[in-house]
Symmetry: C2
Subunit: 169 residues, 2 copies
């Protein structure tokens, strides 16, 4: 798939078939995530991969927008390490760039995915940390739900001219 097609055509996909995501496909997604830029190239990220159905079923009990995980082949929880980022506070941005790369890579290889926000919502952070035994110093930024798509969406046109400021604000 062409890069611009992936970027402009990526949509949030919440319906999945029961076809598994292979380990090779998962590795491509994680390679894409770790290819993201980061502040001073510190790469302050970790990725928890959950395939276990019982674990996935726990998430909708505390996260209101995560019901699609009941059908997802897997979830990747993107986590940030504020020590690894040297206290700059850039880890949120770095991990978001990694997340976006994973979403685009999923689109590119024929998978469907959706970004579920966690951080900075304290209840969601606590829920994810408890479920996945994430250490205190690590923050779960988001959950990416992934599977083979069972819905098709046309590209969204979100272009808004008024959001562009030429020269200065």
């Amino acid at each position: 798939m062409e890069a611009m097609e992936a970027i402009l055509g990526r949509r949030s996909i919440r319906k999945y078939s029961d076809k598994p995501v292979t380990d090779a496909e998962l590795k491509r997604l994680l390679e894409a995530g770790m290819a993201a830029p980061s502040g001073h190239n510190r790469q302050p990220w970790h990725f928890v991969v959950v395939r276990d159905r019982a674990t996935l079923l726990e998430i909708p009990k505390f996260h209101n927008y995560s019901k699609m995980l009941e059908q997802a082949a897997l979830a990747i929880i993107v986590c940030g390490d504020s020590e690894l980022d040297g206290g700059t506070g850039f880890w949120v941005q770095d991990c978001s760039a990694a997340t976006q790369n994973i979403l685009l890579a999923a689109k590119a290889i024929g998978l469907g995915a959706v970004w579920l926000g966690v951080y900075p919502n304290e209840n969601l952070v606590k829920g994810v940390k408890g479920l996945l035994h994430i250490p205190d110093k690590i923050q779960p930024l988001c959950i990416i739900s992934i599977g083979h798509p069972m819905e098709e969406k046309p590209p969204a046109n979100r272009y808004i001219q008024d959001r562009i400021h030429a020269g200065s604000w």
Copy 2:
């Protein structure tokens, strides 16, 4: 360009030729930015486009890592609106996804770009706000320096197996 090639091959490009970036190319970049996902699809972003050389030359006076702007064809300052995001705090992630889309689109159409961190560094935020007359309620997240590349870099291999946690942490 293939999507995976853009994702895995994107590098920070800091040396540019004096060839201009056209308005059509700029529009592709902004379309890519606004195609990003955002929390509850709130699209809490603005983009300030700076082509004026005198303005670009002001930035390295307060931002230590921005000297490449002296040669850049233009800069896009990606800004977040914490009112538009409904107070969820997701604007940093949303604007980071938009930034990553712009970097990948630049790679895809033959341009070179680099992400310069601004937020949450207070001095950098203040410097950018003052220079570009950005309103109080808007936060400049980052500066993207863009031009036609005058350096070539091979894909970076940043894959680290230890950052992947299977099942739980």
